[in-house]
């Protein structure tokens, strides 16, 4: 689905490399979390995938094709909801479809289905200012799904939410991704969130980033919140936290 081949990258403003010879693959249908400490380059990886930055060296492939040769292959959901304040919720979630020049009736039909699914149907004609933080993230998620790409890049979508809203949205997100059969890359600071959501976790431990340390999460697709208390999961959590902290001290 997604493949990095020996990718190196450096911001023009910086004098050090962010990524060096980074290679990794993501399979179709995977839910993968990327963790690492602040400033280690997680968002940079996303910017490379969605084409906002160009790799200095190496190649990025989506579905076996170089990203330079295609459009609309990935859907990016930023940390802030970035809903346009002058658009109603319905108009907001239609944004990507408008840019893809979909027909009005097609947009309307898809928007209706999605609004009902994310529980915002009653709010379709409201403006973002009238919604709570959790509702706004759901709207932002709906907008991301409606871009129609199978590869979703979610950059700390829940980090600004209170913990209760966060928990319910995590469960909701798992359902949604399964239902739409999306491949997800999910950046987070929260180790527990990463374990609960993902099949695999990529841990960033070095600088410049040369590899991801891959950790497989021993939980089934039918995971429950209670599973988080299991001995092996608690251990996994501790070891991940330790890894991140070690790197912080180094």
């Amino acid at each position: 689905m997604l493949e990095f081949k020996n990718v190196s990258f450096k911001y023009d403003e910086d004098d050090y490399k962010m990524l060096e010879n980074l290679s990794f693959t993501v399979d179709e249908g995977d839910f993968i979390s990327i963790i690492g400490k602040s400033g280690c380059g997680k968002s940079t990886v996303f910017r490379l995938i969605n084409g906002l930055e160009k790799a200095e060296k190496g190649e990025i492939l989506v579905n076996g094709i170089s990203i330079e040769k295609q459009k609309n292959y990935s859907a990016y959901m930023p940390q802030k909801d970035l809903l346009f304040p002058w658009r109603t919720i319905e108009q907001n979630i239609c944004l990507s479809m408008e840019i893809q020049k979909k027909s009005r009736s097609q947009m309307h039909e898809k928007a209706e289905e999605m609004l009902k699914e994310v529980g915002l149907w009653d709010y379709r004609n409201k403006y973002p200012k009238d919604l709570s933080g959790g509702m706004r993230q759901r709207a932002s998620f709906a907008r991301t799904i409606l871009s129609g790409c199978n590869l979703m890049l979610l950059d700390e979508p829940f980090s600004a939410l209170d913990s209760l809203t966060k928990i319910s949205l995590q469960e909701w997100l798992l359902e949604e991704c399964k239902k739409h059969n999306k491949t997800v890359l999910f950046v987070t600071h929260d180790v527990e969130e990463a374990i609960f959501l993902s099949k695999k976790i990529f841990v960033i431990t070095d600088r410049p980033v040369t590899h991801f340390e891959e950790v497989v999460v021993p939980l089934s697709d039918e995971r429950k919140r209670e599973d988080m208390k299991r001995g092996d999961i608690v251990e996994l959590k501790e070891s991940l936290i330790k890894k991140l902290r070690q790197e912080g001290e180094a």
Binding site: G51, N72, Y76, K80, W86, I99, Q100, Y127, K129
Partner: protein, 247 residues
């Protein structure tokens, strides 16, 4: 409505004060009382409303429309191209140091007493705040929102239509609200300096006849018209921009 009451009371007090002082001075050719002005306004209603006001308003309207088109055009091309921005911005700012009232007679020299000499003065005063305010609105767009649109495959045109334009809309309204009184001032100054009709011209003519209330009447009329137009724009703005956070 309720929150306007203090302002209304203050305005009435100031008018009463004016009335009092003017009655004490008792020199209506210098300082007429508000009541005298209103009476004069009524006496002169035919020429003021049917001849002079339409003349001034056509200058104002023409100047305003051209300024809006020109201002927005300048804002758009400066936003589109860095080179144009670097070339134009300083020139536009410098144009504001031109003492308009001093060069207005030149326009009369070039264009005679035609409407264009007055329209030119109006444009010179009005286009600047429009260009700069709208331009600021374009520049104020969020980089992150722009990038989000780019990840959806948006073209420059998409970004302009879907992000920059709606983003700059409140700025556009503030610009217009600033521009309306300015364009009226511009028109009145131009008429004062050289014209054969219009409220500015009429006010000046009354001056030569030492008719104080006659000088004030057109000025009061202009102020009221400006207030009404700005009020209408406010209502329009609140109708169109519903998405703003209530303060």
């Amino acid at each position: 409505m309720r929150k306007n009451i203090p302002a209304l009371i203050l305005a009435i007090c100031l008018l009463a004060l004016w009335q009092g002082i003017a009655m004490i001075i008792n020199a209506p050719y210098i300082l007429p009382t508000p009541v005298q002005i209103i009476i004069r306004l009524w006496e002169l209603r035919e020429t003021l409303f049917l001849v002079q006001l339409p003349a001034t308003m056509s200058v104002t309207a023409l100047g305003l429309v051209i300024s809006i088109v020109l201002g927005i055009f300048l804002a758009v091309i400066m936003d589109m191209n860095k080179m144009i921005e670097n070339a134009l911005y300083p020139v536009i700012v410098a144009s504001q140091t031109i003492p308009t009232t001093a060069i207005a007679p030149l326009f009369v020299l070039w264009f005679g007493y035609s409407i264009w000499s007055k329209v030119l003065v109006t444009i010179l005063i009005t286009f600047f705040p429009i260009a700069i305010t709208v331009y600021d609105g374009f520049k104020g767009t969020s980089r992150e929102m722009e990038e989000l649109l780019i990840t959806y495959g948006a073209t420059k045109k998409d970004i302009f239509l879907k992000l920059k334009m709606p983003q700059a809309l409140p700025n556009f309204f503030s610009a217009i609200k600033m521009a309306v009184p300015l364009s009226i001032i511009g028109a009145a100054i131009a008429e004062w300096l050289g014209a054969q009709s219009g409220l500015g011209y009429f006010s000046k003519r009354m001056m030569t006849q030492l008719d104080g209330a006659g000088v004030f009447a057109p000025v009061v009329l202009l102020s009221v018209v400006a207030m009404i137009i700005v009020g209408i724009i406010n209502i329009l703005e609140n109708k169109i921009i519903k998405w703003r956070k209530e303060l």
